[in-house]
Subunit: 185 residues, 2 copies
Amino acid sequence: MDEQPLEKLKQIEEQFVEKIADNMHTYGVSTTVGRVLGIIYMNRRPMTLDELSQETGMSKTRMSQVVREMVDLNIAEKVFEKGTRKDLYNVEHDYYQTFVSLFTSTWQKAIQKNKMFEKKMSAELQVIMENRTMNEEMEQKINVMLKETREWLDYYQWLARLVDFFDSGEIFKHIPKPEKVHNLD
Amino acid sequence: MDEQPLEKLKQIEEQFVEKIADNMHTYGVSTTVGRVLGIIYMNRRPMTLDELSQETGMSKTRMSQVVREMVDLNIAEKVFEKGTRKDLYNVEHDYYQTFVSLFTSTWQKAIQKNKMFEKKMSAELQVIMENRTMNEEMEQKINVMLKETREWLDYYQWLARLVDFFDSGEIFKHIPKPEKVHNLD
DNA sequence: AAATTTATACAATACATATTATACATAAAT
DNA sequence: ATTTATGTATAATATGTATTGTATAAATTT
């Protein structure tokens, strides 16, 4: 291949960005979030909305929406630089941390949404339980559903512990990141 | 409330189904996959495409698509019953196992898609490296990208170990399911 | 052998999400 | 005080995904 090495390197960086973008639905976020993440990552310094707009070919409005989502997900942060009015955004430079941030953010929301559900269901089942006109079949069905609500609660409590397991970094004690030694090549 | 207890119980089951459906985007699958999962779960015996179509109000075509996806994701299975021509589908009755199945299925696909990427990038960087017309800045950039490909590889290998950690059940040694004792109430 | 049932391929449509264009509020520069 | 820059609210549009309708192939029943 006759391409200039610099151009070739650019292409490789772009392939990285595209691969990150491509993977992002696995993390529960849009392709564009991944693309912006990858672009800032490869840029190796914070970027403005205008720069992101230029780099992605998308509107500044869209870039604004995307970086706000990323900040909410803890995978980007606004950084301050003296002498510029424009907002600057940087991203997490640690693949593992990005995974943990997205994993915990996603599941925290799910856990939060289910916080009151079990209580509500149990209460409603209790109300039916107090109905005097109940036969044995009915009582059995209610007991099955009561058991179900407990399993639901147990599972969501387990999920909360799982999220904490990741958020605290405990996961890395059990599945260590590879040693850095070979990076000293 | 004056509702018949049986109707009330039906409503509670439906609320469970809707909550499962509602949560499903967190697991990376569609609301309809969740609804079908919940319906079969609450039915407590395998269901046919026609029954699912009836219960969901959706086309039989759609139900066929959905259950195939669920079978692919290891959260449903086709079961055989003597004396019926219709396919019967059952679902996993363990919240934890459903989580593990979806988690591992989702991430296995991502890992598979990235299997060759690092090799390809490294090879392309090596080709540039051999270019004689390289200056020091260029060489530094290539080294940064080579380091990047190693980190990528390390991270995906870590993800593979993480998936195995879940798939093997190892996760439950570190974050145990709650004791079953209180279920004997 | 013919009719019927069943699941799914295929094409078309509906709906939800991603994105753009424009307007507007706020802050900074002049 | 006015102008300019900047980010985002809002409305409209484009695109991708979910779903339906119809056709078809294969298996089962008659």
